[in-house]
Structure formats: C-alpha cells, structure tokens
C-alpha cells in the first residue's frame, strides 16, 4: 500500500469516526497492519484479523477470558459478518470500544449479550452467560441453583416490564440508573486499566505524525 493510499484511508476513517483524531487513527491503522503482518494488500483479497487472531488480541491486550464473550465481541467488531475484522471495522470498533458514549456502549453490549440476536436477552441466555460466575459448592444439591437465583436477581433488577426477559428498553433503563450494570453479564469492554495501557502504548507521541 502506497503512502498516498494510506493517507486517503486515514482521512476517510477519521471523517467517519467520532472519537479519534487523525493521528490516533493513523496509529491504529499502523497497529492493525502490524498485527495482520505487513501492509501488503493484494487486489481482491480481504486483509483482516480472523476470529482467532482477534480473540488473541482481546485476551492479551484487554485481559478478557470468557470465550463466549470474546466470540460475541468479535461479532460486534465484524460488522459485515464475513469472519474477519478489516481495517475500517478495526478502527470503528475500537472507537466504540475505547471512547464510545454510554448510548453507543449500551447498544453494543446489548448486542453482545443477545446471543441469538432476537432483540431480547432471555433467561436461558443469562443462565448461559452467568453459568461460570459462581463457585460450585460441592455441598449443594443443585449446583446450578445459585446461577438460577442470580438470574432471578438480575431479572428482578432489570426486567422493568416483567415479561421474563430483557428488552433493550429494560436494559437501557436499568443501565441509566446504575452504570455498573452496563456489562451485567460479563466483561465485554476493556477494563479501565488495560484501556489506559493500550492507549498510552498505541498513541505514544501524537507529534510524531504532525508532518503527515
């Protein structure tokens, strides 16, 4: 990829991306190509991070551990659902990931948690996401009892229309009241510490790019 093309790409992405300035976008593009392994772009083939590579990044850079959630995050990034994250998906995704407003994040998180994409987070989905969140007490007869109870607690807390499942409206209302519930069913956003580390590492020196 020649320099001119790169600059053009940077400009388009900067224009469409609310939360990053030009130099930041440049940094992210650079990082993307480092990760992909070279800026060689051949006509016709999509250059991008596949599921495994992306999950690896999520795990090492942002400290995520839950396989299911990481899969869902990958889907959140991979807008066109083609199994790989392209450079624009990368920049747009990180824009939300790192700097998104509460509204954007709510939308994103809800999509992550809505496993089957039917617009509701059902009890079964909650159970699925929370099933590893409690210690199994060997003494307990039903090891899932705690999880079931936790699902009930969450529903009681968030299900405003009492239909036994969470709509986006339910979720939004609950999160607005208590921001902590944003990632109610598992961490799908970077925690503040790794976010800060990532940003300082990637956006090292904005002045370096002033001449571009």
């Amino acid at each position: 990829m020649n320099r001119k093309k790169l600059q053009k790409l940077t400009e388009t992405l900067t224009k469409n991306c609310k939360h990053f300035n030009k130099s930041e976008v440049k940094c992210l593009i650079d990082l993307f190509y480092t990760l992909v392994g070279g800026i060689t772009e051949r006509q016709g083939t999509v250059v991008g991070l596949d599921r495994n590579a992306f999950r690896n990044i999520l795990h090492t850079t942002f400290g995520m551990t839950d396989d299911m959630i990481m899969d869902r995050v990958f889907r959140g990034f991979d807008k066109d659902n083609d199994g790989c994250v392209t450079v624009s998906e990368w920049v747009y995704g990180l824009s939300l990931f790192l700097r998104g407003t509460l509204e954007e994040k709510m939308k994103y998180c809800f999509e992550v948690f809505d496993l089957n994409g039917d617009g509701f987070i059902s009890k079964e989905e909650m159970f699925h996401m929370l099933k590893n969140s409690l210690l199994k007490q060997p003494s307990e007869e039903d090891p899932d009892e705690g999880i079931k109870d936790l699902v009930e607690i969450t529903l009681k807390k968030m299900d405003r229309d009492h239909d036994g499942k969470l709509s986006f409206a339910d979720y939004e209302q609950a999160v607005r009241e208590e921001t902590l519930l944003l990632e109610a069913f598992g961490p799908c956003l970077p925690d503040p510490k790794s976010q800060m580390e990532f940003e300082t590492q990637v956006f090292k020196d904005p002045h370096e790019f002033n001449d571009m």
Partner: protein, 875 residues
C-alpha cells in the same frame, strides 16, 4: 458485745498511737447494730434503761453543749442531766470535750441528740471504752474471761436476788443477746468477704501491666511491685507482714492521679501509708477502705482508669479469663463473666487464618444449620472448594486478612507489643459518637426477610466472579440501606468484611459498587465503628489516589460518613488521608477537563466537593485542623469558596467554620480574603449555607479587622435581615452570634441601628433557646454601650426581659445578661425601671454565684446601679 468487739471489730494495726476502729464495712455494721440497740433500749426496756452503770462510759465527744435541750442544765462549757441517780449525781455530765454517761436511758437520749454524728459518737465511745461490759456491770466482772463471759456473768448474778440484781441480770442478759447478734451479723459479713490469694493478685497485676504505659489510651501509666523478691508462696510482703494476710505492695500511677501505694492482702486491696522516701520502707497502715480487688480500687480512685477500662472491658476480660484459666482455677466470679462466646471465639480465630471477628463468627455459627453457611465462614472448607479460576479472588481475601490484623482483637498473640497496638488502635478518648448498644436480633424467628436475602447476596459476593459480584452489589443497593435492619444485616452476615475486601481488589466496578453500599450504610454509627475495626479506612484513604474520579468521590464521601468519631478521624490522619483529601480540593481547578466524560466518571467539581465533605467531618478534631492547614488546605478552600454551587459551598464553609476555632485559621481566613465570600454567601437561599457562613463570621469576628471587613463587604445588612426569620433555631443562633461579635465595633453598631436590628434583637429576648439568648443578650450588651441604643432598648421594652433573665442558671448567659443590664443601668431612666423590677437585688445575689466570671460581671453591673442610685438620693 464484748466478744463481738474484741473478736470481730477490726482494730487498726497495733502499735501506732491510740487504738482506733478502722473504717470498714464490718465495723460500721457493728456500730450501727449497737446504735440501734441503744436507741430502742429506752422503749423496749424502760425499766432497765434506768439502771445505773457501775462506772460511767466516758469519752471525748464532738457534741457542743448547745445541742442539749430540755432535761439538761446547760452552761457554756458543761451540761448536766436533770436525771440523777440515788446519790444525786447526774446520769450525764459533759464538760467539753469529756462526756460521762451512766445509764442506757441517757445513752439513748445522747445518741438522739447527736443525730447525724451518732455513728461517730458511737465509734468514739467504743474506742474509749474497750470493755464496756465491765464498766456497765461493775469491776467484779473484770476477771471474767471473754471466752465464756456472758454465762459467767449470769451465773454470778443469779447468786443474789435483790431487785437491783434482778435488773442487773436483765441488763446482762440483754447485753449477751446483743453480743450474740453482733457476732452472727459479723459472721455473715465475713463470709461475704472475698479472700484474695497470691495467684489472683499476681494475675491481676501482670495483666494491668500489659495495658499500662505512656499515652492516653492505656489504663495506667505504670504499675509495679515494691519488691522484686517473690517468696515461694507467691507473696512479696515481708514475712512479718504476711502474718497479717498481706501479699504484696504495688505502686500504681494512674493517668489522672498521683502515684498510689497499695497493699494487696487476702482481705482485699487498700491504700497504705505510702513509701517513706528515705529508707524505702512502707508505712503499712491502712488509709482507705478495703476493696475487693485491684481493679475495683483503681476504678474508684481514677476516673481515667475506669473510662479506659470500660472500653477495654471485653478484651481485658477475655484476656483475664484465659489467663486465669491457665494459671489457676481460683478465678473469682466476676472474672468469669466473659461468656463461652469470647473464649470459643478467640479459639476459633487461632484456627482460622482469616480472623473472622468474634461477633461475626458467633453470628455465623448460629446461622450455620439453616444455610450452607459453614462453608463460607470456615475458610478451610472454602479453600478446598475453591477452584482454579477463583484463586486470585481467594488470594485477595488472604491478603486483606493480614492487613486487618492490627485492627482486630488479636488476643491470642501474647506479645505485649501487639496488645499495646490494639489498645492504641481501638480505644480512644471520649468520643462524641458513643457506641450505642448493639441491637442484635436474638432469635432466628424474628429476623426479617431482608436478612435472608442479604445473606444470600453476601454469599454471591464471596463466591462469585466479577460479573456475579457486580450483580449482587447492584441488587444489594436496591435494599433500603437507610434502614437499620438492612445495615445491621449486612454486618451480621459478614458483609462488611467482604465489601471492604472488595476495595482492595483491582476491579474498579466492584470497588465502585462496594463503596456505593458502604457510603449508605456508614450513616449508622455501629457500622462506622465496624468499618474502622475492620481496617476499612486505610484502604479508602488509598483509593483517594486512584485515577478514577468516581472512585475518589465515593471513597471521600464514605470517609466523610465514617469519620464522625474521633478514633476514625485519627486513623484517617495517620494514614495520610488529610493530605490526600486536601489534594482532592485541587481537582476543581484544572480547566482542561475533557469534554467527553468517560464511563463511570464524574466531574472534577464533584471530586472537590467530596473532598471538602470528608474534610468537614475530619475537621472536628483539633489535630486534623492543623493537618489540613499544613497540607495547604486553606487557600484551596478559599478558592472553592468562589464557586456558586451550594453543594460545594456547604462543606467548604462548614470546614472553615469548624476550623475557625483555631487562631491560625482566623489569621489565614483574613489573609485569604475569605470574609468577602462568606458575606456573599449570607445572601444565599440555602439556610444551611447561611448558617455556616454566619457561624464562621461569629468565630472570626473576635478580631477587629475582620469585623470591619464584614461591614465593608456589606455583611451587616444580610445579618440583620436574617434576624427576622426565627424558625430555624440553629441558623438564628449562628446569626445572632455573628451580630454579637460584629457589634463589638462601634461602626457596626451604628449600622445595626440603621437596619433596626436592635429592635428585632429585643424582640428575641423571649421564647428563644439558650444558645440564641446568649448571643442576643451579648449583642444587646455591646449595643447598649451607646446612649441612643440604650434608649431604643428601653423604649422597646427590653429592660424587663433582660432583668427576668437575671434569674437564669446558664453561666454564659448570666455573664452577658449582667453586662447588658449594667450597660442599661448607666442611663437613669432605665435604672429606674431596673430598680422597680428588683434588678439590683438580683444582681446583688449573683455576687454569690460560684462562677467567677458571673461574679465579676455582676459586680461591674452594680457599679452604675450604685452611682445612679446615689444621684437619685441626691436629687
């Protein structure tokens, strides 16, 4: 009587001067019995009452001849009874100070005349007449040995049978009965006495030693034996004193009294004559009552000791209990008080590294059967059940477990150092917010449903990962945390420990959630104490350094709630909290605030507000005020004072107001031009803010320059207008206070007159609480230094309520009232009113007031009164 007196009564150790009866409960009881016997003698045995003693009972009395009335011939220094014996000798004759009495009738009357001092008289009589029976019945019986005295007397008496002997026999019989009665009584007394033994005494002393040392928190400054040598029987007293039952002697120095030299004997503990300086010899004579043990004596002698002890009571008793159990089986009943709980509790904590506090483990144990609670309490079980992913979490528990240790009662550790540490950490000087008795629910059946729900949530907090923890925290927050049931439920199921543990993790969301709960429940004073006991404050102080503003805010707000008592405030300071809180104040100044607030974040202003809030709580301790100043807090507070957010201004002004009690602050307040802003905020709509501003002005306006500043910035008018709203008494007190101090300057008084404040003040002389009255009267006293104002006060009818206040008892109020009345009295017309209202007499009577300031002020007030009275008489 004879036997009782020789055998039971406790005479002072022989060999020192005239023998005297010691003041002991036993002696007192014997004397009282004797008095009762004699007093009733006249009524019960009228015939025998006339029996004339063989020899008079003679002693030095303290009674004055003037005390005697009809039935006696009274002269200046002598008294004789009109009642005489067959030979015409008076049965009672007193020539000061000797008195001689020769019949029970007269004895009885004498005691009646002696009234309150009869116990003393009876004692003197018994002391002077070591063998009263002999004197009463005659020398014949001198030879009778005490052992079988009464029987022998009877035997002798029965030989003759003339009427006189008949009476004599009856008297002897009565005396015999009394003697028996006394012996029985004293037996009861003696059986109640607790015998100390060397082992218990030693334990007591060793234990007290551990709790002694320098510093306010210890119970004693020092306690030590006078002798290092211990005999094989455990006594330290020299052998010739051991015979008297004495075990050892100790020197004790309480915080608030001189060094005491005590004798520990088998009868109990008492004060002896002290160590003579030159030879180090101890004056063994008893100088106080006998106390049943060392602690009881010290509690009585030193208020500080009993105060600090009561705080240490539980710990001390636990320790005591253990010690006693270990070393001897002779523990006294009251030492056995600590229930099984404390012993078993401390036993547990040895077993459990986690050091679950005693109370909680008690609670948890009780709950164990109903839920699988044991598993969560018993860390050993838990350890084994914890699976790989949770190890990090468990590590967290362990880590904080050790960091709590200093705050916990770690009574198992025997080292003195540790124990001292505990004392200094958990006891404190008089605390404003005293521990209210625990209202723990006693029966499971009574527990509300919230209790079980909270317990379940705490279980999830303990055993859940971050996601589950956040859900549980959010759900817990939905309970009514302002309700005591919920607050105590969280504590009782061990929730506080978990919440505080969470603060020590890296999970920002968990910390936020935990602080949100702690912030609410720390409104409860018991919870506050538990948080401090669990070592929560140092962790929160550390969070103040966090890069997350919302965390800082929550931590500061929680500290603001917790630091409502002195010990907590001290902990905040000791962990560097004051400096960090002051640093928070600086947050509001960075203009480079990002336009887009990141998630979970709050604004800088909010951070500063929370910092001020916490400083406000902390500023109630003197040392903290100084620390705030040293940390550079004043300029920052001054800067924050320029904002217009009420939420911010209230804690800022509150802190300033609290600190303005210090001279350093008042100077700084003047230098930082704070007065201007205080005045500005008097015009605020917020009553609380107005109150604190007025209060701050009140504190600062002792200084003349400050008073002028208040006037120059136009502060007098809002003050005067605030007088018209009398509903909020706290604010009224602050406002009147500010007016009082401001009116010390004449220019200010002129202004107040302009604003018609004087009339309003006069109106406030009735139906107001004392705090308001003191200030109102103080202000009027200042105003009335000027003629015009005196006229106004008089015309508004202010004299009468002022004079009425002269009968009060509040000293501060009286000082001000006398001053005001005195100021009014300068004007003849007002003087006339004062005179008519009997004010002069009232002032006069205040000269007898015990408080010197009141006396002085009353005397000053009398001066113009006298002067004006003179004028009147001249006219």
């Amino acid at each position: 009587m004879g036997v009782a007196l020789t055998k039971s009564a406790q005479w002072t150790a022989a060999g020192y001067g005239p023998t005297a009866l010691e003041v002991t409960p036993l002696n007192e009881a014997i004397l009282k019995e004797i008095i009762e016997f004699i007093e009733n003698f006249l009524y019960n045995h009228p015939q025998e009452a006339e029996y004339v003693f063989a020899e008079p009972l003679e002693w030095k009395t303290n009674l004055e001849p003037s005390a005697f009335g009809s039935g006696y011939i009274v002269s200046e220094t002598a008294v004789e009874s009109k009642e005489v014996d067959n030979n015409g000798q008076p049965l009672l004759s007193l020539s000061v100070p000797h008195v001689q009495i020769r019949s029970f009738g007269q004895l009885s009357q004498f005691l009646f005349i002696a009234k309150d001092s009869k116990l003393k008289e009876a004692q003197l009589c018994v002391e002077a007449n070591r063998n009263p029976v002999e004197k009463i019945l005659g020398l014949d019986y001198n030879t009778i040995k005490e052992e079988s005295s009464a029987l022998r007397i009877l035997e002798k008496l029965t030989k003759g049978d003339d009427p006189e002997n008949e009476i004599k026999r009856k008297v002897a019989h009565l005396l015999y009965q009394l003697d028996l009665h006394l012996l029985n009584n004293s037996l009861k007394h003696i059986s109640l006495e607790i015998r100390l033994n060397p082992v218990t005494v030693k334990n007591d002393i060793e234990l007290l030693k551990r709790f002694s040392g320098k510093g306010e928190q210890t119970v004693l400054e020092f306690i030590e034996y006078t002798s290092d040598y211990e005999f094989s029987n455990g006594c330290r007293a020299p052998p010739w004193r051991q015979i008297h039952g004495e075990i050892c002697y100790v020197l004790v120095k309480p915080h608030d009294a001189d060094t005491l030299c005590l004798t520990c004997s088998s009868e109990g503990v008492f004060l002896n004559g002290g160590k003579t300086d030159d030879e180090g010899e101890i004056n063994y004579e008893r100088k106080s009552e006998v106390y049943k043990d060392l602690v009881t004596l010290l509690k009585d002698k030193s208020a500080k000791f009993s105060e600090n002890m009561s705080r240490q009571e539980l710990k001390f008793n636990e320790e005591h209990h253990k010690e006693v159990n270990q070393l001897s089986k002779t523990a006294k009943e009251e030492e056995a008080i600590p229930s099984n709980r404390s012993t078993s509790g401390s036993h547990r904590s040895t077993l459990e590294k986690n050091q679950i506090n005693l109370v909680k483990s008690h609670m948890a144990k009780r709950l164990a059967p109903s839920l699988n609670w044991k598993a969560t309490v018993d860390s050993k079980d838990r350890k084994s059940s914890f699976k790989e992913p949770q190890e990090e979490k468990h590590g967290r528990h362990e880590k904080t477990g050790t960091s709590f240790s200093h705050g916990r009662a770690q009574l198992i550790r025997k080292s003195v150092e540790k124990i001292e540490d505990i004392i200094s950490d958990s006891s404190s000087e008089s605390e404003e917010d005293e521990e209210s008795p625990d209202h723990r629910q006693e029966a499971n059946a009574d527990l509300p449903s919230e209790y079980w729900q909270i317990q379940k949530l705490v279980k999830y907090l303990k055993g859940g990962n971050q996601t589950a923890t956040v859900i549980a925290l959010c759900s817990m927050k939905d309970f009514n945390l302002a309700q005591e049931t919920c607050q105590l439920a969280i504590r009782d199921v061990g929730g506080l420990e978990v919440l505080i543990n969470l603060l020590d993790t890296d999970e920002v969301k968990c910390k936020i959630g935990s602080l949100k709960i702690l912030k609410e429940i720390s409104h409860n004073s018991q919870i506050r104490r538990s948080i401090v006991d669990l070592g929560g404050l140092p962790i929160m102080v550390n969070i103040l350094d966090s890069p997350h503003k919302s965390l800082k805010c929550l931590a500061a707000e929680t500290i603001a709630n917790v630091a409502k008592f002195r010990r907590a405030r001290r902990v905040v300071r000791q962990y560097g909290g004051i400096t960090k809180l002051v640093a928070l104040l600086d947050c509001g100044q960075n203009s480079s605030e990002p336009a887009q607030l990141s998630l979970y974040e709050t604004r800088d202003v909010e951070v500063a507000r929370c910092g001020a809030l916490a400083l406000w709580s902390c500023s109630k301790s003197h040392t903290n005020k100084e620390a705030i100043r040293k940390a550079g807090g004043i300029p920052l507070l001054a800067r924050l004072l320029k904002t217009s957010h009420e939420n911010m201004l209230i804690p800022v002004v509150g802190t300033l107001q609290e600190c303005a009690s210090e001279e350093n602050y008042r100077a700084a307040i003047k230098a930082e031009r704070i007065i201007e802003n205080l005045v500005k905020n008097l015009n605020s709509e917020n009553e609380q803010l107005q109150e604190h501003c007025a209060m701050a002005i009140y504190q600062c306006a002792e200084d003349e320059e400050t008073r002028d500043l208040v006037r120059l910035h136009g502060g007098l008018k809002p003050l005067a207008s605030l007088l018209n709203n009398t509903d909020n008494k706290e604010r009224l007190a602050a406002v009147t206070g500010a007016i009082w101090k401001c009116s010390i300057s004449k220019e200010n008084v002129t202004k107040f007159r302009e604003y018609k404040a004087i009339e309003t003040l006069v109106g406030l002389l009735t139906d107001q609480p004392e705090e308001v009255l003191i200030n109102v009267v103080g202000a009027l006293g200042e105003c009335c230094q000027e003629y015009e104002n005196r006229v106004i006060v008089r015309k508004c009818g202010g004299i009468q309520p002022l004079v009425n206040l002269l009968v009060g008892i509040n000293q501060a109020l009286l000082v001000n009232v006398t001053k005001a009345v005195g100021a009014c009295a300068v004007e003849p017309e007002s003087m006339a009113i004062i005179d008519r209202l009997d004010g002069v007499r009232l002032l006069w009577s205040l000269l007898k007031n015990p408080h010197p300031d009141v006396k002085a002020s009353a005397a000053w007030a009398l001066c113009p009164c006298i002067e004006n009275a003179k004028v009147k008489s001249v006219c």
